[in-house]
């Protein structure tokens, strides 16, 4: 991976809508060449962040840089250089794919080959997606419209592609084609920022992930690192009076704990698997299984964040 710079830099970004805080002091770097998965529940602030990055929304505080440009002052230049696929594509639906490609080419005179280059790349893309070039967009299926939107974004040969829930509600085949395009783009050193709820897909294609919750960042790091330093400990105890969380002296940080009378499931961050072995020495432990959680397990763990204080008797029984 090329680590020389950040394709996107966000510093202390804040955005409020009529008293509701959508983004709350977000700082985040998206390295060049990354496929960066932006995760979080609906309302976490992902779409607001993306709209600020594209210069479509003015932030209340903080700075952003996209491909070295300031979106709040150079929004048009950012939108010309960034490929953007929104959740619901805004397409002129009385046009055909061929017409909208020609129309969009007029706004992309600066790219490689100018407008002609844009239009010919667009036509190659819609041919590759087997889209009917001469059928009106309003007659196209949802999946086909999504592919028109992706073709418009890719035809500019962008250094950065931003996708906001691009495949929600689309069938497996279309999602697959989107993923292939992303992988292809990443293979040529371009950067992809992908906001998605499809955790299994993100897990396959992403190099980095960030998790947002309530407008704040919970984590942002290389996916390899997250997966190699997060563990699910399934512990069986000899009796009911067992610790409800890892004691402070253990070399791990609790993300989420689920409790049953003689069992505990602890999702933890730890340096490595060997560090997790320390739980075997806790009093009353009968057996320990150390598992590698999926990205979905990790996501749910951070969302729940049940962290009982380690000292004191178990007060409450959680249902796993």
């Amino acid at each position: 991976m090329t680590q020389q710079g950040a394709a996107i830099r966000i510093v202390q970004l804040a955005k409020r809508f009529r008293g509701v805080t959508a983004v709350d002091g977000l700082s985040l770097d998206v390295p060049e060449g990354a496929v960066f998965g932006l995760l979080g529940e609906n309302g976490a602030g992902k779409t607001t962040t993306i709209q600020v990055l594209l210069g479509l929304l003015a932030p209340d505080a903080g700075q952003t840089r996209v491909l070295g440009l300031d979106p709040s002052r150079e929004g048009l230049a950012v939108r010309r250089r960034v490929g953007y696929v929104p959740e619901v594509p805004a397409l002129y639906d009385w046009m055909t794919p061929a017409e909208i490609g020609w129309f969009a080419a007029g706004f992309h005179a600066e790219g490689p080959g100018g407008s002609v280059g844009y239009e010919s790349r667009f036509n190659d893309l819609i041919r590759g997606f087997a889209l009917p070039p001469a059928r009106k967009i309003k007659m196209l299926s949802k999946g086909m419209r999504a592919k028109v939107s992706l073709s418009l974004a890719l035809a500019g040969d962008p250094g950065l592609l931003i996708l906001d829930e691009p495949t929600s509600g689309l069938d497996v085949m279309v999602r697959r084609e989107f993923l292939e395009q992303m992988v292809d783009l990443a293979g040529s050193g371009r950067t992809v920022l992908l906001s998605s709820h499809q955790l299994a897909e993100v897990e396959r294609v992403a190099s980095h992930v960030a998790l947002m919750h309530g407008g704040k960042l919970l984590l942002a790091e290389p996916l390899d690192q997250l997966r190699s330093q997060t563990f699910l400990l399934a512990i069986t105890f000899g009796d009911r009076s067992h610790p409800v969380a890892p004691p402070d002296h253990l070399p791990m940080e609790l993300i989420d704990a689920a409790d049953a009378p003689r069992q505990a499931h602890w999702l933890v961050r730890a340096r490595d698997r060997a560090a997790c072995e320390a739980v075997r020495a806790l009093p009353g432990v009968e057996s320990v299984e150390i598992e590698v959680p999926t990205l979905e397990d990790i996501y749910l763990g951070y969302m729940r964040s049940r962290r009982p204080t380690p000292s004191g008797p178990p007060s409450e029984v959680h249902v796993a």
Partner: protein
């Protein structure tokens, strides 16, 4: 072109799965010494995984002396690879069986029951006649 798939139900890191699929393809003869493996971009697109993941698998295979860089063209299978990949295949099957045996013990089965299940399943898989390994 060589077709590699990931192993369903395998929860190890994807790069490790990819490295294993290449080892099996070599062990089964689907990939022979001197032949080129798919390029990083090609295989990333085929498996729909991040190109870094494929690159990491290839680095591991190079470090083990199974793949060798051919100037200007790509990575090819080394002469020593087939023999080494045979033992990698043994290690893989051993680990998978070991994991299944651990599960069986945890669920409270005794060794004779585990053995019976193993023999039954072996017979059934023989009837199905599926040869697992690299497909070309």
């Amino acid at each position: 072109m060589l077709l590699l798939g990931l192993i369903p139900g395998d929860d190890r890191a994807i790069y490790a799965q990819i490295a294993d699929r290449v080892r099996f393809a070599v062990a089964s003869g689907a990939l022979r010494p001197g032949e080129l493996v798919p390029s990083v971009r090609e295989l990333a697109k085929q498996l729909v995984v991040n190109p870094n993941t494929v690159a990491r698998a290839y680095r591991e295979l190079q470090a083990e002396g199974l793949l060798d860089a051919v100037r200007g063209t790509g990575l090819s299978v080394t002469v020593e690879a087939p023999e080494r990949c045979q033992s990698a295949r043994h290690a893989f099957v051993r680990d998978r069986l070991r994991a299944a045996i651990d599960d069986a013990r945890r669920s409270g089965l005794d060794p004779s029951e585990i053995e019976r299940i193993l023999h039954d399943q072996w017979r059934e898989s023989g009837v199905a006649g599926q040869h697992e390994g690299g497909q070309s």
